[in-house]
Protein backbone atom coordinates (compact mmCIF):
# COMPACT_ATOMS: atom_id res chain seq x y z
CA UNK A 1 0.00 0.00 0.00
CA UNK A 2 1.34 3.41 -0.91
CA UNK A 3 1.15 5.42 2.25
CA UNK A 4 2.67 8.61 0.93
CA UNK A 5 0.66 11.81 0.86
CA UNK A 6 -1.61 12.16 -2.15
CA UNK A 7 0.33 15.16 -3.37
CA UNK A 8 3.44 13.04 -3.73
CA UNK A 9 1.65 10.12 -5.37
CA UNK A 10 -0.13 12.31 -7.83
CA UNK A 11 2.89 14.36 -8.75
CA UNK A 12 3.42 14.50 -12.46
CA UNK A 13 6.85 13.57 -13.74
CA UNK A 14 9.04 14.67 -16.47
CA UNK A 15 11.99 12.97 -18.00
CA UNK A 16 12.49 13.84 -21.59
CA UNK A 17 15.14 15.01 -23.95
CA UNK A 18 15.31 18.05 -26.16
CA UNK A 19 12.28 17.07 -28.23
CA UNK A 20 9.90 17.81 -25.42
CA UNK A 21 11.70 20.98 -24.38
CA UNK A 22 11.64 22.34 -27.87
CA UNK A 23 7.90 22.86 -27.65
CA UNK A 24 6.67 19.69 -29.28
CA UNK A 25 3.56 18.01 -27.99
CA UNK A 26 4.31 16.07 -24.79
CA UNK A 27 4.60 12.37 -25.44
CA UNK A 28 2.79 9.60 -23.68
CA UNK A 29 4.01 7.92 -20.50
CA UNK A 30 5.84 5.17 -22.30
CA UNK A 31 7.46 7.30 -24.95
CA UNK A 32 10.90 8.93 -24.84
CA UNK A 33 9.35 12.29 -24.03
CA UNK A 34 6.99 12.95 -21.20
CA UNK A 35 4.54 15.42 -19.77
CA UNK A 36 5.85 18.59 -18.22
CA UNK A 37 5.68 18.87 -14.47
CA UNK A 38 3.09 21.17 -12.97
CA UNK A 39 5.27 24.19 -12.27
CA UNK A 40 2.85 25.58 -9.69
CA UNK A 41 3.10 22.75 -7.15
CA UNK A 42 5.67 22.22 -4.35
CA UNK A 43 9.33 22.16 -5.41
CA UNK A 44 10.55 18.73 -6.50
CA UNK A 45 13.27 16.82 -4.65
CA UNK A 46 15.20 16.63 -7.90
CA UNK A 47 14.84 18.93 -10.86
CA UNK A 48 17.06 18.64 -13.92
CA UNK A 49 16.89 20.88 -16.95
CA UNK A 50 19.13 20.23 -19.91
CA UNK A 51 21.67 18.35 -17.81
CA UNK A 52 24.72 17.40 -19.83
CA UNK A 53 28.09 16.05 -18.83
CA UNK A 54 31.12 15.46 -21.01
CA UNK A 55 34.32 13.63 -20.27
CA UNK A 56 37.05 15.26 -22.31
CA UNK A 57 34.62 16.16 -25.07
CA UNK A 58 32.89 12.77 -25.07
CA UNK A 59 29.28 13.20 -23.96
CA UNK A 60 28.16 10.95 -21.12
CA UNK A 61 24.81 12.63 -20.48
CA UNK A 62 22.92 14.79 -22.93
CA UNK A 63 20.12 17.25 -22.29
CA UNK A 64 18.36 15.32 -19.55
CA UNK A 65 15.24 16.86 -18.02
CA UNK A 66 13.65 15.32 -14.98
CA UNK A 67 11.43 16.12 -12.01
CA UNK A 68 11.06 13.87 -9.02
CA UNK A 69 8.85 14.76 -6.06
CA UNK A 70 9.86 14.21 -2.47
CA UNK A 71 9.21 10.68 -1.30
CA UNK A 72 9.20 9.21 -4.78
CA UNK A 73 11.38 6.48 -6.24
CA UNK A 74 13.16 6.86 -9.53
CA UNK A 75 14.74 3.94 -11.34
CA UNK A 76 17.47 4.72 -13.85
CA UNK A 77 17.91 1.99 -16.41
CA UNK A 78 20.15 1.70 -19.42
CA UNK A 79 23.06 -0.16 -20.92
CA UNK A 80 26.64 0.19 -19.73
CA UNK A 81 28.04 3.62 -20.52
CA UNK A 82 24.67 5.32 -20.78
CA UNK A 83 25.48 7.83 -18.03
CA UNK A 84 23.50 6.40 -15.12
CA UNK A 85 26.38 6.49 -12.65
CA UNK A 86 27.43 9.89 -13.97
CA UNK A 87 23.98 11.26 -13.24
CA UNK A 88 24.08 9.79 -9.76
CA UNK A 89 27.49 11.35 -9.04
CA UNK A 90 26.24 14.73 -10.24
CA UNK A 91 23.22 14.47 -7.93
CA UNK A 92 25.56 13.48 -5.10
CA UNK A 93 27.66 16.65 -5.66
CA UNK A 94 30.67 14.51 -6.57
CA UNK A 95 30.74 15.64 -10.19
CA UNK A 96 30.01 18.97 -11.83
CA UNK A 97 27.61 19.12 -14.74
CA UNK A 98 29.05 20.44 -17.97
CA UNK A 99 25.83 22.36 -18.64
CA UNK A 100 22.24 22.50 -17.52
CA UNK A 101 20.42 23.22 -14.29
CA UNK A 102 20.45 20.83 -11.37
CA UNK A 103 18.40 21.38 -8.23
CA UNK A 104 18.45 18.77 -5.46
CA UNK A 105 16.42 19.19 -2.27
CA UNK A 106 16.11 22.88 -3.06
CA UNK A 107 19.85 23.40 -3.55
CA UNK A 108 21.19 24.51 -6.92
CA UNK A 109 24.25 22.53 -7.95
CA UNK A 110 27.13 23.00 -8.03
CA UNK A 111 26.90 26.43 -6.36
CA UNK A 112 25.05 25.22 -3.26
CA UNK A 113 26.69 21.81 -2.96
CA UNK A 114 27.86 22.65 0.54
CA UNK A 115 24.24 23.02 1.69
CA UNK A 116 23.36 19.60 0.37
CA UNK A 117 26.19 17.56 1.86
CA UNK A 118 25.05 15.44 4.73
CA UNK A 119 21.53 15.17 3.30
CA UNK A 120 22.40 12.56 0.72
CA UNK A 121 23.01 8.87 1.19
CA UNK A 122 25.22 7.74 -1.67
CA UNK A 123 26.04 4.14 -2.43
CA UNK A 124 28.26 3.91 -5.48
CA UNK A 125 30.34 1.21 -7.10
CA UNK A 126 33.05 1.68 -4.48
CA UNK A 127 32.11 0.99 -0.86
CA UNK A 128 33.99 4.11 0.38
CA UNK A 129 35.45 2.16 3.28
CA UNK A 130 39.01 2.22 4.58
CA UNK A 131 40.38 -1.29 4.27
CA UNK A 132 42.67 -1.05 7.28
CA UNK A 133 39.95 0.05 9.65
CA UNK A 134 37.33 -2.30 11.02
CA UNK A 135 33.76 -2.14 9.83
CA UNK A 136 32.72 -0.46 13.07
CA UNK A 137 35.59 2.04 12.94
CA UNK A 138 34.57 3.00 9.42
CA UNK A 139 31.02 3.64 10.55
CA UNK A 140 32.17 5.58 13.60
CA UNK A 141 34.36 7.72 11.36
CA UNK A 142 31.42 8.47 9.10
CA UNK A 143 29.20 9.27 12.07
CA UNK A 144 31.77 11.77 13.38
CA UNK A 145 32.14 13.37 9.96
CA UNK A 146 28.37 13.78 9.81
CA UNK A 147 28.27 15.27 13.29
CA UNK A 148 26.11 12.55 14.81
CA UNK A 149 26.36 12.59 18.62
CA UNK A 150 28.43 9.70 19.95
CA UNK A 151 25.63 7.91 21.84
CA UNK A 152 23.22 8.20 18.98
CA UNK A 153 25.86 7.05 16.52
CA UNK A 154 26.64 3.96 18.61
CA UNK A 155 22.98 3.03 18.84
CA UNK A 156 22.45 3.47 15.10
CA UNK A 157 25.59 1.54 14.22
CA UNK A 158 24.60 -1.37 16.44
CA UNK A 159 21.08 -1.42 15.10
CA UNK A 160 22.11 -1.24 11.44
CA UNK A 161 24.86 -3.83 11.83
CA UNK A 162 22.44 -6.20 13.54
CA UNK A 163 19.88 -5.59 10.86
CA UNK A 164 22.35 -6.62 8.16
CA UNK A 165 23.70 -9.45 10.34
CA UNK A 166 27.18 -7.93 10.43
CA UNK A 167 27.40 -7.43 14.19
CA UNK A 168 29.69 -10.42 14.74
CA UNK A 169 32.21 -9.33 12.12
CA UNK A 170 32.02 -5.58 12.70
CA UNK A 171 35.31 -5.50 14.60
CA UNK A 172 37.26 -7.19 11.83
CA UNK A 173 39.21 -5.16 9.34
CA UNK A 174 37.42 -4.43 6.08
CA UNK A 175 40.39 -5.85 4.15
CA UNK A 176 39.34 -9.30 5.39
CA UNK A 177 35.74 -8.98 4.24
CA UNK A 178 34.19 -10.57 1.19
CA UNK A 179 32.70 -8.23 -1.41
CA UNK A 180 29.23 -8.93 -0.08
CA UNK A 181 30.21 -8.11 3.49
CA UNK A 182 31.81 -4.88 2.31
CA UNK A 183 28.59 -4.00 0.54
CA UNK A 184 26.61 -4.58 3.72
CA UNK A 185 28.88 -2.23 5.67
CA UNK A 186 28.72 0.26 2.79
CA UNK A 187 24.94 0.21 3.01
CA UNK A 188 25.18 0.97 6.74
CA UNK A 189 27.56 3.82 5.90
CA UNK A 190 25.24 5.29 3.28
CA UNK A 191 22.24 5.52 5.60
CA UNK A 192 23.94 6.15 8.93
CA UNK A 193 23.05 9.85 8.93
CA UNK A 194 19.45 9.07 7.92
CA UNK A 195 19.47 11.12 4.73
CA UNK A 196 16.19 12.16 3.09
CA UNK A 197 17.60 11.34 -0.36
CA UNK A 198 19.19 8.01 -1.28
CA UNK A 199 21.28 7.64 -4.43
CA UNK A 200 21.89 3.95 -5.02
CA UNK A 201 24.09 2.62 -7.78
CA UNK A 202 23.36 -1.08 -8.13
CA UNK A 203 22.98 -1.55 -4.38
CA UNK A 204 22.42 -5.29 -4.70
CA UNK A 205 25.75 -5.94 -6.36
CA UNK A 206 27.73 -8.61 -4.50
CA UNK A 207 24.86 -9.26 -2.09
CA UNK A 208 23.42 -12.74 -1.68
CA UNK A 209 19.61 -13.12 -1.70
CA UNK A 210 19.53 -12.91 2.09
CA UNK A 211 21.60 -9.73 2.05
CA UNK A 212 19.32 -8.19 -0.56
CA UNK A 213 16.29 -8.92 1.55
CA UNK A 214 17.89 -7.66 4.75
CA UNK A 215 19.06 -4.44 3.12
CA UNK A 216 15.57 -3.49 1.97
CA UNK A 217 14.60 -2.02 5.31
CA UNK A 218 17.56 0.35 5.13
CA UNK A 219 17.58 1.27 1.46
CA UNK A 220 14.26 0.04 0.09
CA UNK A 221 11.25 2.22 -0.63
CA UNK A 222 9.90 3.91 2.49
CA UNK A 223 7.69 6.76 3.45
CA UNK A 224 9.36 10.15 3.16
CA UNK A 225 12.47 8.69 1.54
CA UNK A 226 13.31 9.85 -1.95
CA UNK A 227 15.35 7.30 -3.88
CA UNK A 228 17.20 7.19 -7.13
CA UNK A 229 18.09 3.64 -8.00
CA UNK A 230 20.46 2.61 -10.77
CA UNK A 231 19.86 -0.99 -11.65
CA UNK A 232 20.42 -3.62 -14.28
CA UNK A 233 17.38 -5.51 -13.06
CA UNK A 234 14.47 -3.85 -14.85
CA UNK A 235 11.77 -5.95 -13.22
CA UNK A 236 12.79 -5.16 -9.67
CA UNK A 237 13.45 -1.52 -10.49
CA UNK A 238 10.05 -1.14 -12.11
CA UNK A 239 8.34 -2.85 -9.21
CA UNK A 240 9.84 -0.40 -6.72
CA UNK A 241 9.85 2.80 -8.75
CA UNK A 242 7.31 5.53 -9.24
CA UNK A 243 9.20 6.73 -12.27
CA UNK A 244 11.42 4.72 -14.58
CA UNK A 245 13.82 6.49 -16.90
CA UNK A 246 15.70 4.68 -19.63
CA UNK A 247 18.94 6.16 -20.88
CA UNK A 248 20.44 5.11 -24.19
CA UNK A 249 24.09 4.66 -25.09
CA UNK A 250 24.39 8.32 -26.07
CA UNK A 251 23.33 9.50 -22.62
CA UNK A 252 19.93 10.72 -23.75
CA UNK A 253 16.58 9.80 -22.27
CA UNK A 254 15.26 7.00 -24.44
CA UNK A 255 12.08 6.27 -22.57
CA UNK A 256 10.10 6.98 -19.49
CA UNK A 257 7.24 5.46 -17.58
CA UNK A 258 5.22 7.31 -14.97
CA UNK A 259 3.62 6.00 -11.81
CA UNK A 260 3.52 2.33 -11.27
CA UNK A 261 0.29 1.02 -9.78
CA UNK A 262 0.06 1.55 -6.03
CA UNK A 263 -0.75 -2.12 -5.57
CA UNK A 264 2.65 -3.09 -6.82
CA UNK A 265 4.42 -1.42 -3.89
CA UNK A 266 5.77 -4.06 -1.53
Amino acid sequence: MDDRPDAARDRPHEAHSDAARSGEEPAGPDSPGGPHVDEGSSPPAIRLRGLSRDYGGRPALREVDLDLAEGENLALLGPNGSGKSTMLRILATLLRPTSGEVTVLGCTLPDQSWKLRGRIGYLGHEPLLYRDLTGRENLELQARLHGIPRDEASARIEADLDLLEMGRRADDRVSGFSAGMRQRIAICRAVLHRPPLLLLDEPDSNLDPEGRELSRSLIGPAEGRTRVLVSHEPERAKAEADVVVMLDRTGQVAGRTGHRSTEARP
Binding site: R96, P127, L128, L129, D132, L145
Partner: protein, 226 residues
Amino acid sequence: MTPSRSAFAVLLAKDLRTELRTMRSLPAMILFAVTTFIIFRYGLDRTTLSGSLAGGVLWTTLLFAGILGINRVFVSELEEGGFDAIRLAPVDRTVLFASKASALFIYFAVLEAIIVPVFAMFFLPDWSALIPLTLLLAGANLGFAVLGTLISSMAVNSRARDLLVPLLLLPLVVPLMIAVTAASAGLFDAAGPDYEGFGTWLLVVGLYDGVFLLVGYAVFDFLLED
Protein backbone atom coordinates in the same frame (compact mmCIF):
# COMPACT_ATOMS: atom_id res chain seq x y z
CA MET B 1 28.20 21.63 9.13
CA THR B 2 30.16 19.28 11.38
CA PRO B 3 32.52 21.26 13.64
CA SER B 4 35.90 21.42 11.95
CA ARG B 5 37.79 20.55 15.14
CA SER B 6 35.89 17.29 15.53
CA ALA B 7 36.31 16.38 11.86
CA PHE B 8 40.01 17.24 11.99
CA ALA B 9 40.54 15.04 15.04
CA VAL B 10 38.76 12.06 13.55
CA LEU B 11 40.59 12.29 10.21
CA LEU B 12 43.98 12.69 11.84
CA ALA B 13 43.27 9.80 14.20
CA LYS B 14 42.28 7.66 11.22
CA ASP B 15 45.56 8.37 9.43
CA LEU B 16 47.69 7.70 12.49
CA ARG B 17 45.80 4.53 13.36
CA THR B 18 46.16 3.26 9.80
CA GLU B 19 49.89 4.00 9.77
CA LEU B 20 50.35 2.25 13.11
CA ARG B 21 48.58 -0.82 11.77
CA THR B 22 50.11 -1.00 8.33
CA MET B 23 53.48 0.78 8.72
CA ARG B 24 53.36 1.75 5.06
CA SER B 25 55.30 5.01 5.27
CA LEU B 26 57.49 5.39 8.34
CA PRO B 27 59.63 2.25 8.13
CA ALA B 28 60.54 3.03 4.50
CA MET B 29 61.41 6.62 5.41
CA ILE B 30 63.57 5.57 8.36
CA LEU B 31 65.33 2.82 6.43
CA PHE B 32 66.06 5.19 3.57
CA ALA B 33 67.49 7.82 5.90
CA VAL B 34 69.69 5.42 7.87
CA THR B 35 70.99 3.82 4.67
CA THR B 36 71.81 7.25 3.26
CA PHE B 37 73.79 8.15 6.38
CA ILE B 38 75.74 4.91 6.08
CA ILE B 39 76.52 5.68 2.44
CA PHE B 40 77.65 9.21 3.34
CA ARG B 41 79.72 7.90 6.22
CA TYR B 42 81.68 5.47 4.08
CA GLY B 43 81.41 7.41 0.82
CA LEU B 44 82.90 10.55 2.32
CA ASP B 45 85.22 8.50 4.49
CA ARG B 46 84.64 10.93 7.35
CA THR B 47 83.79 10.18 10.98
CA THR B 48 82.84 13.79 11.72
CA LEU B 49 81.12 16.46 9.72
CA SER B 50 80.72 20.14 10.52
CA GLY B 51 79.32 23.38 9.14
CA SER B 52 77.37 23.46 5.92
CA LEU B 53 78.49 19.95 4.91
CA ALA B 54 76.84 18.49 8.02
CA GLY B 55 73.72 20.54 7.35
CA GLY B 56 73.68 19.46 3.72
CA VAL B 57 73.92 15.77 4.59
CA LEU B 58 71.17 16.02 7.20
CA TRP B 59 68.67 18.08 5.18
CA THR B 60 69.23 16.23 1.89
CA THR B 61 68.53 12.96 3.65
CA LEU B 62 65.43 14.33 5.40
CA LEU B 63 64.13 15.82 2.17
CA PHE B 64 64.28 12.62 0.16
CA ALA B 65 63.07 10.45 3.03
CA GLY B 66 60.17 12.86 3.44
CA ILE B 67 59.20 12.53 -0.21
CA LEU B 68 58.56 8.83 0.38
CA GLY B 69 55.90 9.77 2.94
CA ILE B 70 54.46 12.59 0.85
CA ASN B 71 53.97 10.24 -2.09
CA ARG B 72 51.68 8.05 -0.02
CA VAL B 73 49.74 10.57 2.01
CA PHE B 74 46.62 10.60 -0.20
CA VAL B 75 46.86 7.11 -1.65
CA SER B 76 44.35 5.60 0.77
CA GLU B 77 41.86 8.39 0.05
CA LEU B 78 42.19 7.71 -3.66
CA GLU B 79 42.20 3.92 -3.61
CA GLU B 80 39.60 3.44 -0.89
CA GLY B 81 37.20 6.23 -1.78
CA GLY B 82 38.11 8.51 1.10
CA PHE B 83 37.88 11.60 -1.11
CA ASP B 84 34.26 10.84 -1.98
CA ALA B 85 33.36 9.96 1.60
CA ILE B 86 34.72 13.29 2.82
CA ARG B 87 33.15 15.24 -0.03
CA LEU B 88 29.76 13.75 0.85
CA ALA B 89 30.04 14.80 4.49
CA PRO B 90 29.10 18.26 5.76
CA VAL B 91 32.72 19.06 6.46
CA ASP B 92 34.86 21.99 5.41
CA ARG B 93 37.29 20.46 2.92
CA THR B 94 40.24 22.37 4.28
CA VAL B 95 39.91 20.10 7.31
CA LEU B 96 41.28 17.32 5.13
CA PHE B 97 44.21 19.54 4.19
CA ALA B 98 44.88 20.33 7.85
CA SER B 99 44.62 16.69 8.94
CA LYS B 100 46.92 15.43 6.17
CA ALA B 101 49.49 18.15 6.80
CA SER B 102 49.37 17.32 10.51
CA ALA B 103 49.81 13.62 9.82
CA LEU B 104 52.85 14.38 7.67
CA PHE B 105 54.23 16.68 10.36
CA ILE B 106 53.93 13.85 12.87
CA TYR B 107 55.55 11.34 10.49
CA PHE B 108 58.47 13.74 9.97
CA ALA B 109 58.79 14.31 13.71
CA VAL B 110 58.91 10.55 14.38
CA LEU B 111 61.41 10.11 11.55
CA GLU B 112 63.64 12.82 12.98
CA ALA B 113 63.34 11.52 16.54
CA ILE B 114 64.97 8.33 15.25
CA ILE B 115 67.39 9.47 12.59
CA VAL B 116 68.78 12.70 14.04
CA PRO B 117 70.40 10.76 16.92
CA VAL B 118 71.72 8.33 14.30
CA PHE B 119 73.11 11.28 12.37
CA ALA B 120 74.69 12.64 15.55
CA MET B 121 76.26 9.28 16.34
CA PHE B 122 77.69 8.96 12.85
CA PHE B 123 78.90 12.52 12.31
CA LEU B 124 78.75 14.87 15.31
CA PRO B 125 81.45 14.98 17.97
CA ASP B 126 79.38 17.47 19.97
CA TRP B 127 75.63 16.99 20.46
CA SER B 128 74.94 20.47 21.87
CA ALA B 129 73.57 21.63 18.50
CA LEU B 130 70.65 19.23 18.74
CA ILE B 131 68.56 21.39 21.10
CA PRO B 132 68.41 24.50 18.87
CA LEU B 133 68.15 22.16 15.90
CA THR B 134 64.75 20.97 17.13
CA LEU B 135 63.39 24.48 16.59
CA LEU B 136 64.65 24.43 13.04
CA LEU B 137 63.32 20.93 12.46
CA ALA B 138 59.86 21.99 13.66
CA GLY B 139 59.79 24.95 11.29
CA ALA B 140 61.06 22.89 8.36
CA ASN B 141 58.57 20.11 9.11
CA LEU B 142 55.66 22.52 9.02
CA GLY B 143 56.61 24.00 5.66
CA PHE B 144 57.50 20.64 4.17
CA ALA B 145 54.28 19.03 5.44
CA VAL B 146 52.08 21.83 4.15
CA LEU B 147 53.78 21.97 0.74
CA GLY B 148 53.89 18.17 0.53
CA THR B 149 50.15 17.93 1.22
CA LEU B 150 49.41 20.47 -1.48
CA ILE B 151 51.62 18.82 -4.08
CA SER B 152 50.44 15.33 -3.20
CA SER B 153 46.78 16.34 -3.55
CA MET B 154 47.58 17.67 -7.03
CA ALA B 155 49.51 14.59 -8.11
CA VAL B 156 47.46 11.83 -6.51
CA ASN B 157 45.05 11.39 -9.42
CA SER B 158 47.90 10.84 -11.83
CA ARG B 159 49.31 7.40 -12.46
CA ALA B 160 52.73 9.07 -12.59
CA ARG B 161 52.38 10.52 -9.10
CA ASP B 162 55.67 9.00 -7.92
CA LEU B 163 57.36 11.06 -10.61
CA LEU B 164 55.15 14.13 -10.34
CA VAL B 165 55.58 14.71 -6.62
CA PRO B 166 59.36 15.25 -6.75
CA LEU B 167 59.05 17.19 -10.02
CA LEU B 168 56.61 19.65 -8.52
CA LEU B 169 57.91 19.64 -4.97
CA LEU B 170 61.67 19.99 -5.36
CA PRO B 171 61.73 23.40 -7.09
CA LEU B 172 59.29 24.80 -4.55
CA VAL B 173 61.16 23.44 -1.56
CA VAL B 174 64.50 25.00 -2.58
CA PRO B 175 63.98 28.25 -0.59
CA LEU B 176 63.16 26.22 2.52
CA MET B 177 66.20 24.01 2.06
CA ILE B 178 68.48 27.03 1.57
CA ALA B 179 67.15 28.60 4.77
CA VAL B 180 67.44 25.52 6.96
CA THR B 181 70.85 24.54 5.62
CA ALA B 182 72.19 28.04 6.18
CA ALA B 183 70.69 28.16 9.68
CA SER B 184 72.10 24.80 10.66
CA ALA B 185 75.58 25.47 9.23
CA GLY B 186 76.37 27.64 12.23
CA LEU B 187 74.84 25.13 14.64
CA PHE B 188 77.14 22.40 13.36
CA ASP B 189 80.26 24.59 13.58
CA ALA B 190 83.32 22.55 14.56
CA ALA B 191 84.00 24.95 17.45
CA GLY B 192 80.49 24.57 18.86
CA PRO B 193 77.12 26.10 17.93
CA ASP B 194 77.35 29.57 16.40
CA TYR B 195 74.04 31.44 16.46
CA GLU B 196 74.97 34.26 14.10
CA GLY B 197 72.23 34.56 11.49
CA PHE B 198 70.26 31.73 13.07
CA GLY B 199 67.32 33.96 14.02
CA THR B 200 67.13 35.54 10.58
CA TRP B 201 67.04 32.20 8.81
CA LEU B 202 64.49 30.91 11.28
CA LEU B 203 62.34 33.91 10.38
CA VAL B 204 62.68 33.03 6.69
CA VAL B 205 61.52 29.49 7.51
CA GLY B 206 58.54 30.93 9.40
CA LEU B 207 57.63 33.17 6.47
CA TYR B 208 57.85 30.24 4.08
CA ASP B 209 55.54 28.22 6.34
CA GLY B 210 53.08 31.08 6.56
CA VAL B 211 52.95 31.62 2.80
CA PHE B 212 52.27 27.98 2.02
CA LEU B 213 49.75 27.65 4.86
CA LEU B 214 47.77 30.49 3.31
CA VAL B 215 48.15 29.11 -0.21
CA GLY B 216 47.03 25.67 0.96
CA TYR B 217 44.01 27.08 2.78
CA ALA B 218 43.04 29.12 -0.27
CA VAL B 219 43.40 26.51 -3.01
CA PHE B 220 42.86 23.11 -1.43
CA ASP B 221 39.10 23.21 -1.89
CA PHE B 222 39.54 23.62 -5.64
CA LEU B 223 42.04 20.78 -5.84
CA LEU B 224 39.37 18.35 -4.62
CA GLU B 225 36.94 19.26 -7.39
CA ASP B 226 36.42 16.74 -10.16
